[in-house]
């Protein structure tokens, strides 16, 4: 009996100890911060990555956030100091870091500093000023999550949605932006080739993430790489010798690759829970023919990263160019896209976008729309019929449709 009592008291003591330890651990987890749930941020990795891929993800994460100093090569002219300082939380940028692209008609105006205005400069260099009489396009930095999934969508799947001659007479005539990838791309880059379907950027003018990163480093930060080894300079006011003291190239190919791999493995946020009201909004979204361009689901093909292979992608975009009308036209070409055409903007991530934009939404290529309703009202061109269908909806139905879109 005594032995049993001792045993029971020992068990009770251990149980009490475990409960106390559990309380301490629970308390500690709050005292030591908690991890946000999966799908609630823009900077989380895809599910199903291998340990090695997660290591690469972490390396790229570090490089993405690295803020360059002037002595490390920032400039001589530039727009910002790191990838992360343009893409808030890895999502879109804010109006304060809108990029200014310019050209003279189809001439990208390299002689006058085009195609992008660098409005910052290190001591000894002069920021660029916008030449008079040029065509200007303001571009909000786009989200960078989910681009690996976009990369994994085969050209054929994008081309299947084309209807350049509007054969089905629905008023929508999407077409792919055929682009010539940069010659410096490695031959095994998924976006390399003689002519490829563009898919990245506001006008789908880019087919390669390596090229996207290289050009962002070169144009946005003034960071040279083996792919772009010559500094970007202000042609109107060359920098003083020694203003940018870092030797070229300022980053290695490996660093470029780190960031491209990181972006490939960034997961899009999870869409919100469906409810009867949202299901009604989804039906109205399709009924208004928004899905004519904002294709709800596309399918990936083979990709080197297994987590990207053969899976559905709910991006709500057909990745094609569409004429969006005069109100949104920037009258500036980009690849084969003309001044009225824009790539259908993916709608994923809108559910949590406000959290990273100071409570605002900043939609469309330049962030001029602060709500989905405002963005829809600015649609024109091929989207005129869908816009009018939306505007004709009763107030409650409009709200349901908007709620559905903002839950993606």
């Amino acid at each position: 009996m005594s032995h049993a009592w001792r045993s029971q008291s020992r068990i009770a003591f251990c149980a009490a100890g475990l409960v106390l330890a559990a309380l301490v651990i629970v308390g500690c987890s709050n005292l030591l911060t908690t991890e946000p749930p999966l799908g609630e941020r823009f900077d989380q990795p895809l599910a199903g990555l291998s340990n090695g891929e997660l290591g690469d993800f972490q390396d790229g994460h570090t490089q993405f956030r690295k803020a360059f100093t002037i002595n490390e090569g920032l400039g001589p002219i530039f727009n910002n100091v790191s990838c992360a300082s343009c893409h808030s939380g890895d999502g879109r940028g804010v109006t304060g870091n809108t990029l200014t692209r310019f050209s003279r008609g189809t001439d990208l105006d390299y002689a006058e500093g085009g195609p992008q205005l660098q409005d910052k400069a290190v001591p000894g260099a002069t920021p660029e000023r916008l030449p008079s009489g040029v065509d200007v396009s303001y571009r909000l930095p786009p989200p960078v999550f989910g681009v690996g999934l976009i990369e994994a969508i085969p050209d054929s799947a994008i081309l299947a949605g084309e209807d350049p001659g509007d054969a089905n007479a629905d008023g929508i005539s999407g077409r792919a932006n055929w682009v010539t990838p940069a010659s410096y791309l490695p031959s095994d880059d998924p976006g390399a080739g003689a002519s490829r379907v563009g898919r990245f950027g506001r006008k789908a003018a880019n087919s390669s993430l390596i090229q996207q990163v290289t050009e962002a480093y070169h144009q946005d930060m003034g960071i040279t790489s083996p792919y772009r080894p010559t500094e970007n300079v202000n042609p109107a006011a060359p920098a003083a010798s020694g203003a940018d003291p870092a030797p070229e190239p300022e980053v290695s190919e490996a660093k470029i690759s780190d960031i491209a791999q990181y972006m490939r493995m960034l997961a899009p946020p999870s869409p919100g829970e469906m409810s009867p009201a949202r299901e009604r909004g989804q039906t109205l979204f399709a009924g208004a023919r928004c899905t004519g361009c904002h294709t709800p689901v596309m399918h990936t093909g083979w990709h080197e990263i297994e987590a990207l292979r053969n899976r559905d992608v709910q991006l709500y975009s057909d990745l094609l160019l569409h004429d969006m009308g005069d109100a949104l036209a920037d009258n500036r070409p980009d690849g084969s896209a003309d001044g009225h055409e824009w790539r259908t903007a993916p709608l994923w991530g809108l559910r949590i976008a406000r959290e990273f934009l100071g409570g605002d939404l900043l939609l469309l290529h330049d962030g001029r729309a602060h709500s989905v309703d405002e963005a829809v009202r600015l649609h024109g061109g091929e989207a005129t019929a869908a816009r009018d269908a939306y505007l004709a909806l009763p107030v409650d139905d409009k709200a349901a449709l908007v709620d559905f879109v903002e839950s993606r």
């Binding site: 005292l31 030591l32 911060t33 690295k66 100093t69 002595n71 808030s88 939380g89 001591p123 990273f356």
Partner: protein, 401 residues
């Protein structure tokens, strides 16, 4: 690497050593720099050990020397994701003083900081006594930009790390090349007034050229050569009522180079840093505070990205909970501390800031050594004002040797 291991071993030995005559050592071997006989002075507490009251442990003829070191173990978590646990030398510092004549001394002090992996020559100066309470010095020395920069020895500190305002705005340890005078006068019959006025090299263009993610004044610290031909002026005045202290300091000077490879690249640009600090004792607590504000003249090409105004502040409360900790072991003590602090790297933005609270429970096996158990929680905001929470548990040991 070898130096780090040797320093760690030395410090471990110091911690294992029997309780030493630290107070005795301090009283016997301290070389008061500027304390006038006419002014009542309290004996130095561990928290007051600075350059003039360091407990030197070695001496030979006219040379005294000593040092201190710190070991750190920490468990850091960023937004719920733990970083690899780390164990490192936190800080190693060696100092010496040579008496060249009755009125002239040579002082040297060097420190290694694990973060940011920095070796700093904190002191290499000639000091000449000018009467009983005043002296002149020239060489490399810690500028009087706040109380923490003048006195920040790891074993004297109750927290695992110096305050954010000290390390992120003022750049502690911040040593510069220069010359000046310091000493003690009287604010009132019972209240000393301490002062130091120097001309120094000032911050250099690292303030922007080596600054990552915007203006960072510490990136231009420890400047041992002038870049623009104009010295910076730095001064601190502090009154010491009772055991307390209230001080204000300012440093002002150009930080940038105006010519590179013979070509003029910019005009002269100034940085002004103002600090205020205080120390008080009330209800058994020792309260310490430090605040700083900086104005930085930014070249036009960097406006909007590089901050023109920064500020920060910290408030610490520490208390001895039990002394001696063990009845038979005199000199031991148990103390606790709380600290709240914030720094704003860009006052023109809602974000780009860090706010932290920290707690520490400390055991001193002897007055010159400390074992600290610490916790901190930090709210770090990027330039978009996005929040990243950080937290950690730390175990640190520091000792003079």
């Amino acid at each position: 690497m070898i130096g780090r291991h040797a320093s760690a071993a030395l410090m471990a030995l110091a911690l294992l050593a029997p309780p030493a005559r630290a107070a005795d050592t301090a009283s016997k071997k301290t070389v008061p720099r500027s304390t006038p006989a006419a002014v009542p002075v309290t004996p130095p507490s561990p928290a007051a050990w600075g350059r003039e009251n360091a407990p030197y442990h070695g001496s030979l003829d006219n040379i005294t020397w000593g040092g201190h070191g710190e070991l750190r173990f920490g468990y850091d978590v960023t937004a719920g994701v733990s970083d690899p646990s780390w164990f490192s030398v936190g800080r190693v510092n060696g100092f010496m003083e040579a008496k060249l004549s009755s009125k002239v001394r040579l002082r040297g002090q060097a420190a290694y900081d694990h973060v940011p992996d920095d070796f700093t020559l904190e002191r290499a100066e000639l000091v000449a006594r000018l009467g009983r309470a005043h002296e002149a010095h020239a060489g490399i020395f810690l500028v009087p930009l706040g109380r923490t920069n003048l006195s920040h020895d790891a074993p004297a500190y109750e927290f695992w790390e110096r305050s954010l305002v000290a390390t992120q705005i003022l750049g502690v340890p911040n040593a510069q090349l220069g010359l000046g005078v310091n000493g003690t006068g009287s604010w009132s019959r019972t209240t000393p007034l301490r002062y130091e006025v120097d001309l120094v090299t000032g911050f250099d263009d690292g303030v922007i050229m080596d600054a990552s993610g915007g203006t960072r004044i510490p990136a231009g610290r420890n400047n041992y050569s002038d870049q623009n031909g104009i010295p910076a002026a730095v001064a601190r005045f502090a009154i010491q009522p009772g055991r307390g202290e209230v001080g204000v300091a300012i440093q002002s000077g150009p930080y940038n180079r105006t010519r590179v490879e013979g070509a003029e690249i910019d005009g002269t640009r100034w940085v002004h840093v103002l600090t205020a600090d205080g120390l008080a004792h009330a209800m058994g607590l020792e309260l310490a505070t430090e605040a700083a504000a900086a104005l930085i003249d930014i070249p036009p090409g960097l406006e909007g990205l590089y901050a023109e105004r920064q500020w920060g502040a910290s408030l610490e409360a520490t208390r001895t909970l039990r002394a001696p900790l063990f009845h038979a072991w005199r000199g031991t003590s148990l103390s606790g501390g709380l600290r709240a602090e914030t720094v704003d790297f860009d006052a023109g933005l809602p974000g780009d800031s860090r706010t932290r609270v920290a707690a520490s429970l400390n055991i001193r096996p002897q007055p010159a050594s400390i074992l600290r158990f610490g916790w901190y929680y930090e709210w770090k905001r990027d330039r978009f004002d996005n929040l990243t929470p950080l937290a950690g548990l730390t175990l640190t040991a520091a000792s003079y040797f």
